[in-house]
Symmetry: C2
Subunit: 110 residues, 2 copies
């Protein structure tokens, strides 16, 4: 399992990237996808995921459609145009962060 502290701040990026790749997704599906892609090392909690999804919606990055699967409500989330460029920006930021930190934390010379 990846330390939860490190994951902080990457949740938005993960969600936006998954939606960019997969079109529309629903919350539960997102948690499963992350678990699958990370081979179980990353497990999103609902208490973190839903507030982020609602915030992204309030900020105009994603839109929702509610559908019924049988009698059960399912809420699909998709990126808006703003969300699409936001996703790219977040990804650039993440890789910039990794490059910088990797340099700072590189094995010592002496």
């Amino acid at each position: 399992m990846i330390s939860n502290d490190l994951l902080k701040g990457t949740l938005r990026t993960i969600v936006l990237k998954l939606l960019a790749d997969n079109g529309r997704m629903y919350g539960y599906e997102i948690t499963k996808k992350v678990e699958e892609l990370s081979t179980g090392k990353i497990r999103l909690t609902f208490g973190a995921l839903y507030p982020v999804l609602h915030k992204l919606e309030a900020d105009g990055h994603i839109t929702t459609e509610t559908e019924y699967i049988g009698r059960r409500v399912r809420k699909y989330y998709s990126l808006t145009e703003v969300g699409r460029s936001g996703a790219q920006q977040k990804l650039d930021e993440f890789f910039d962060f990794v490059n910088t930190l990797t340099y700072v934390l590189k094995p010592s010379p002496a």
Copy 2:
């Protein structure tokens, strides 16, 4: 500048690694070193740094020596044995995190 959100959770790792490489350091020196190594992209704030240093000391990862430079107090921090293995563990965790997240966020195939 690196997004502050991403930096969360890496501060301890940075501090431990710097102390592992440089022997003893004082707070102000640590902030300057990080700025230097990151070419200005990472700037530690004192409000974050000192609580972390105090916490690491309380947890037995570092010890302190106070010296006077002229009339000014300077407080040096150095790793204990526990801190040294803690540093390595944090580094391993960080690179594991990067590898996993890089895979999750890798450019989409389709």
